[in-house]
Amino acid sequence: MGGRVDHEYSYLFKMVLIGDSGVGKSNILSRFTRNHFSLDSKSTIGVEFATKSLQMEGKTIKAQIWDTAGQERYRAITSAYYRGAVGALLVYDITKRQSFDNVHRWLRELRDHADSSIVIMMVGNKSDLIHLRAVSEDEGKALAEKEGLFFLETSAMEAVNVEEAFQTIITEVYGIVNRKALAAKEAAAASAPLPSQGKTISIDSAAGNTKRACCSA
């Protein structure tokens, strides 16, 4: 039963959570995957990951989300885990300006190690702490626009916008994957020698390719 459930998905999307230490990455992850929030948060050691399945247009999408340590001493081992990631949540803490200022550095890291087509959402977490805000929402929006990123402010504590953040990335990635599949299908159709017979064979082949690609991702 467990085995069957594990294999019952159409796509597997790997996503990474990055950002300074203490901005709330792990709580965002636990809120999304287990609807759990912990005030007593300990620093993440190395890498952790969790998964959650979602339905989209009748297909099952399994999101595999990798949570990283923001601290400097774990930086060495984190370059490897960018491999194959289709989405990234770049998290800063709206009550810590330094974490917002460091967004540039994390972006550079993404561009150095991750695939160029990775979908990036900038996340301003801890939006419930309105009285301790150090970075305005407008500043976040402006930076996101400038860098071509998605942007949302979240509160892992109050479960505000967390689901929406992941949903946005998954929707975007799903769209990209679909467009790729469609392009492959059209290319295959164009090169078919026998119209009726080739069409049939091409359709099956395209579907197979799509599935395999997602598995490898």
């Binding site: 009550t95 300006r97 200022d101 309105i130 009285h131 301790l132 805000r133 150090a134």
Partner: protein, 788 residues
Amino acid sequence: MTAQPKKRSVIESGDGGLGLGLALFISNGEDLGPIIRHGFDSGKPEALMQNLRSIVKKKEVEIEELCRLHYEDFILAVDELRGVLVDADELKGMLTGENIHLQKVSSATLLNLDELFELYSIKKNIGEAITTLKICVKVISLCMACNGYIAEAKFHPALKTLDTIEKGYLKNIPLKLLKKVVAKHIPLIKMHIEKKVCSEFNDWLVHIRRMAKQIGQVSISQASMARQKDEEMRARKREAEAHSDARSDEHVYTLDVENTDEESTLNFDLTPVYRAHHMHICLGIGEKFRDYYYKNRLMQLNLDMQISTSQPFLESHQPLLAQVAGFFIVEQRVLRSADGLLSESQVESTWETAIAKITSILEDQFARMSIASHLLLVKDYVTLLGTTVSKYGYQIAQLIQVIAKYKDKYHQLLLIESRKQIDDILANDSYEQMIIKKEYEYNMNVTAFHFEPDDVVPEFPYVAPFSSGVPDICRIVRSFIGDSVSYFSYSARTNIYEIVKGYLDRLLIEVLNDSLLNMVYARSLAMSQMMQLAGNISVLEQSCDMFLLYSAQLCGIPKRIAQRSHSGLTAKAVLKASQNAAYNSLINLANFKIDEFMVLLDDVNWIVEEAPDNPNEYMNEVLIYLETLVSTAQEILPLEALYKMVSGAMSHISDSIMTTLLNEGVKRFTVNAVMGLDIDLKLLEAFAEEKFYRTGLVDLGKETTFADCLVEIRQLVNLLLSSQPENFMNPVIRGRNYGSLDYKKVAIVCDKYKDFADGLFGSLSNRNKQDARKRSMDVLKRRLKDFS
């Protein structure tokens, strides 16, 4: 009467001690157990049994007696009882009849009674139900009221209602389900109220954080305006003192118009804080709220004190400090008015944290600043912050210490800037006397610095003894003094006059004096310019007293006290020394120039055959130069300097001629050449004599005149032209006429002395005279050789 005989009989029987004891025990009703056990234990039960049987017999006799006595009464009683029995049977019959009759009559009434009982039961049940419902209605109406209050966000009455429900009704709710629901929802509602109140409070936190900057800015601007008023008062006081006449009619009254906008800013609303605190106390978690308040305000403060990295500190420091000021004004108000929400020690602890952070920021920024006015700008705002928060009871010693700590840095920057400015002025100065044509120019450049008595107005154009650089430098020095005093104002509690004096001395010595000396030694100035520079130094040296008075004035020290003070600026003596250095440079420069003309000595024909009628060419040039030199110096230099310079020039000319005669360049010379020198010297001596008297130098009372500077060469020439040069060897004559001459020099010169009297065509008329001189010279030569 019966009892007494029985007692007597018992006593009279005399059955022995044991019997008597037993009888006593029995009559007293005591427990015979122990006695019986004792009897059996001791092995004498028979005696005990006999005694007991004896007592029984006696008692039976008594009973029989008693029965016999009352027999008759007993019979009568029995008869009477039987009679009563008959009566009772009769009565029983009557009752039975009555009962049957009653049953017939009242059966209908009994039915009614049953109905009545049933109705009473129903009434009781309904009463209980009504009572129950009343309680429920009360509870539910309280719940509804509570809901209403919550809907209207009136949390205090809501809590009161909850308390009423919880304490007054909860235990008594008869319906279990209702009780359960109410019990469950009370904590939920309390939690909801807490959340709502906290949310409202958080909104206030956001609001007050934004307002804090305005509050701080308004408070600081009020402190700034108060300071401005102080400055105006002080300025008027200085003016009044400067005029030194009491003008009582100069009191100026100003109307203080309050700024209503600022007042409204300072009357910020703390209602949400009071409300939240009170609500939490009602909820029984006052401590939790106090802790929450303290921690979150501390976090806000830490956020506010993160200085911007994108904005220069010069721009960001005012909002930063205003924010902090506003924060602590709010905290002070909360402390005073929120009834235990904050403690004194908490506010003090927070302030210590803040001021340590501010101190650290200031030290870091001050260390990096490279422009004095920036440091002054920040310092001014910091002192305004200090003034503002100290009114609210905060300790500002650390701020004062930081400012004091960086005073050297500040003044170092001022000195650097002043050096640049002064160097520019000196580099661009034309070193020509200022010609002032208009009164405002005079006021700006002369009166302002008291170079002339204030009550004297000269005729225009006025020719100043200094060049345009001098008033410019004085303006810089005065500006430096003002900036120095500005730094210490509102931040130093001690007398700052001595400190400012110290820095002023440094400016005048390390900057001004050094720059002036650089100009003196740079050899980039012409003679007249160098003279003007020396004159400028003289004026600046005299200005030291004016600078000192100005410092005292700005430091708030009355003029008469400052004037009485004997301690002056060290710079005055240093500038005096530099003045002398300038004079020495003048002398060197003049001598250097003279050397250019004295080179013409090389063109002199030392073996000329005819006595010359005119002076040599070099002397003409020298005299022209000296004429120009003296006329220029006379206008600029003080007499002492003029004397030194001309004396030096004369001595130099004398030395030059002497050196020429001694040098290898001159192999031999004739008496005619010496006669030429004599003509030159006479001209020079005449010039010296004239200038010595015409310039007024004679009034200095110097023992050495200008002509005296030429004495060496004069004596040599006299010796060479003397008819009896051998007299040089006579000590008395030598002491009187040739005292400045050196043996060796005379020997060298005399060796070069040649007379052409031996010529074939010498004049016969002079033969005898020349011969006599020749012989005398030969004697001198020989004796000098022998001497050496």
